[in-house]
């Protein structure tokens, strides 16, 4: 009787451990399997590369990527990956370029252009930028034309060079070489660029 109880306990614990580990694996795999789409033939080690990409592409705070598409090209023995990530109800995608080195399994982010920003945040950033005296002066001369500015997310590692290591937004009037670096948290323009 005692032996059978002990055996039952061991089996129960084994089942619990298996169930818990199964849950963990499922949780890790689910976002990758559901959201990444390879354009064309996936490269070698695509599953591993996809997982690494998922770790490096992060949507705007409070939003989620609905899908991530990856296209590839080969140059000088290096794999180049072009990632387009789309969030629900944003007008533009987030774009990332990576290179992947098969020798050391290293994924390096080369560039990013992040415009998948909620419309309310986008409007708020433009509003903050337009309250800045320098921006207002240039726009009031009519040099801003009729264009609506672009709003791009600047990642903390880039923002650190100009302000602080935190997510900022760049509001840019392309046809007048005018841009404001905006901290939406504090409602401030932290830098202005006017083409010089």
């Amino acid at each position: 009787m005692k032996n059978s109880t002990a055996l039952s306990l061991v089996l129960l614990i084994a089942l619990l451990v298996a169930a818990i580990s199964g849950c963990n694996m499922g949780a890790e795999d689910a976002p990758f399997e559901n959201s990444v789409v390879w354009i064309g033939t996936p490269p070698a080690e695509s599953e591993n590369i996809g997982k690494k990409i998922i770790q490096q592409v992060i949507p705007y705070a409070g939003t989620e990527y609905e899908n991530i598409t990856i296209s590839t090209s080969q140059k000088n023995d290096k794999l180049r990956l072009h990632v387009s990530s789309v969030s629900a109800n944003t007008m533009h995608p987030d774009l990332y370029d990576f290179t992947y080195n098969y020798d050391n399994n290293d994924l390096i982010r080369v560039s990013y252009l992040l415009e998948a920003i909620p419309e309310s945040v986008r409007s708020e950033a433009i509003g903050i930028a337009m309250l800045n005296e320098q921006i207002r002066d240039v726009l009031s001369t009519g040099m801003g034309g009729n264009s609506i500015p672009s709003v791009k997310r600047i990642l903390p590692e880039t923002a650190e060079k100009f302000y602080e290591p935190k997510t900022l937004l760049s509001v840019t009037w392309k046809d007048s070489s005018l841009s404001a670096l905006v901290d939406v948290d504090t409602g401030q323009v932290v830098e202005v660029w006017s083409g010089n």
Binding site: S120, G127, R136, G144, N146, I148
Partner: protein, 429 residues
């Protein structure tokens, strides 16, 4: 007996009067530096430079955390002694006495409690934040000071501005129970027309949640122009909202938004619908659906241009849309990309004898694309190598037989808010 009591009371009174200045002197209130008569504002600045205070470098200087009630998080702060003598750093929370939510000192534990830092030495402090289960959702901000040194001011201030401090903020949040699947409505609308939009709300909780969508009272917060606040294209009453009062658990409902654009409206409308969701996890701003409408009055009469040609021969007429309308073009498309509208031009050419037939010779889409190498702000340098549309244009080229004489060109644009034209005489290619 009474005499004794009176003497004791008198003694206590005199003692207390004498004690007041001493007691006041013991209160650790930072002493304001007074400006002498005749001293200028710029002179007062030199006082600050001469004062003695500990010089610490705190990294990071700002920190922000997102924590759910009942959870905790921590951040490590490195403090470097930039002074030439050992400094004792004893961090403490200095709560800002303003803001929607007041930070609670009891939420924070800092280890070590204090440390002696030698010149040029570094000391790490771990700031751990524990948010109680019953904390209100919201944004909390405070300062964490590492020494008692304060910024001197020539006048009393409501709270001290600590010199060796960092800004610390915590966003206390919980996942919303209602998911707003249509967070904004935007598009270009025509005056005199009506439009219908749908806002989808999904209840992911296990209980019914009430809603009461209304136009927000603080509308048009960000309707700024280069000259300040701009008047709205139309009033809120142009918008009618119909919605159920409850979203049942696990169900999705639709809030209907009907817009009747007045005939005389011009410009932009920026506003918001406050869904008034009975869910404390949704903050005021998050429970809103932003609306942005750009009102457009479609012309019904063509633009006309008269010109004279001295010789018989074909005329070539080229009409192009605004090259810098990439984003404006997106506005034409509206939030729903299925509703894509291309620019177009109805073109006529006539003289005294009537209209001549025009032949559409060529249609051109043109644009310029940058790889981010030049004329971009320095903080967008990491977009180098990714294609970016700078401008795009739609061009139509027509040919028509033109006898010598006076002519009138008519252009009626569609889905274009700016266009340019050229009229060329002589044989084409």
């Amino acid at each position: 007996m009474k005499k004794y009591i009176v003497r004791i009371m008198l003694g206590l009174l005199i003692t207390s009067i004498l004690a007041v200045p001493n007691a006041a002197a013991e209160v650790p209130v930072p002493e304001p530096i007074m400006i002498d008569e005749g001293m200028t504002g710029s002179d007062s600045m030199y006082l600050d430079m001469e004062m003695d205070f500990a010089r610490l470098q705190i990294n990071p200087g700002h920190s922000n955390m997102q924590i759910k009630p009942g959870n905790s998080d921590k951040v490590t702060v490195t403090v470097t002694n930039k002074d030439n003598e050992t400094i004792t750093a004893a961090p403490f929370v200095s709560v800002f006495p303003y803001g929607d939510n007041l930070f609670e000192e009891s939420w924070v534990t800092i280890t070590p409690v204090s440390a002696d830092i030698a010149p040029d030495a570094k000391q790490e402090f771990v700031i751990e934040v524990n948010i109680p289960q019953d904390a209100d959702i919201g944004y909390y901000s405070t300062s964490i000071a590492f020494t008692e040194d304060v910024m001197p001011t020539p006048y009393p201030t409501p709270y001290p501005d600590y010199l060796n401090s960092m800004h610390f903020s915590v966003d206390v949040w919980t996942p919303p129970k209602i998911q707003i699947q249509t967070p904004y409505i935007s598009g270009r609308v025509e005056s005199g027309e009506s439009y219908d939009y749908e806002i989808k709300l999904e209840n992911v909780a296990d209980k019914d949640i009430s809603i009461d969508p209304k136009i927000d009272d603080n509308n048009r917060m960000y309707d700024y122009g280069p000259f300040g606040m701009m008047s709205s294209a139309f009033e809120d009453d142009a918008i009618t909202i119909t919605a159920p009062s409850v979203v049942k658990a696990g169900e999705t409902v639709i809030v209907n938004v009907h817009l009747e654009v007045p005939d005389d409206s011009k410009g932009n409308y920026n506003g918001a619908i406050d869904l008034n969701i009975d869910d404390p996890s949704i903050r005021e701003w998050d429970g809103q659906v932003q609306m942005n409408f750009n009102v457009w009055t479609q012309p019904t009469e063509p633009y006309t241009k008269t010109f004279t040609t001295r010789t018989d021969g074909p005329a070539t007429i080229e009409i192009s849309s605004n090259p810098y309308s990439e984003y404006a073009y997106a506005m034409w498309m509206g939030a729903d990309t299925q509703d894509k509208k291309e620019p177009s031009f109805d073109v006529t050419l006539e003289d005294d004898s009537g209209e001549v037939e025009m032949t559409l010779v060529k249609t051109t889409y043109s644009g310029s694309v940058s790889l981010g190498m030049s004329n971009f702000p320095p903080w967008e340098v990491d977009s180098t190598g990714i294609y970016q549309d700078l401008s795009s244009s739609y061009i139509e080229e027509y040919s028509a037989p033109c006898a010598a004489g006076d002519w009138t060109l008519g252009i009626l644009p569609g889905n274009a808010d700016m266009f340019s034209y050229t009229i060329t005489f002589g044989p084409g290619e």
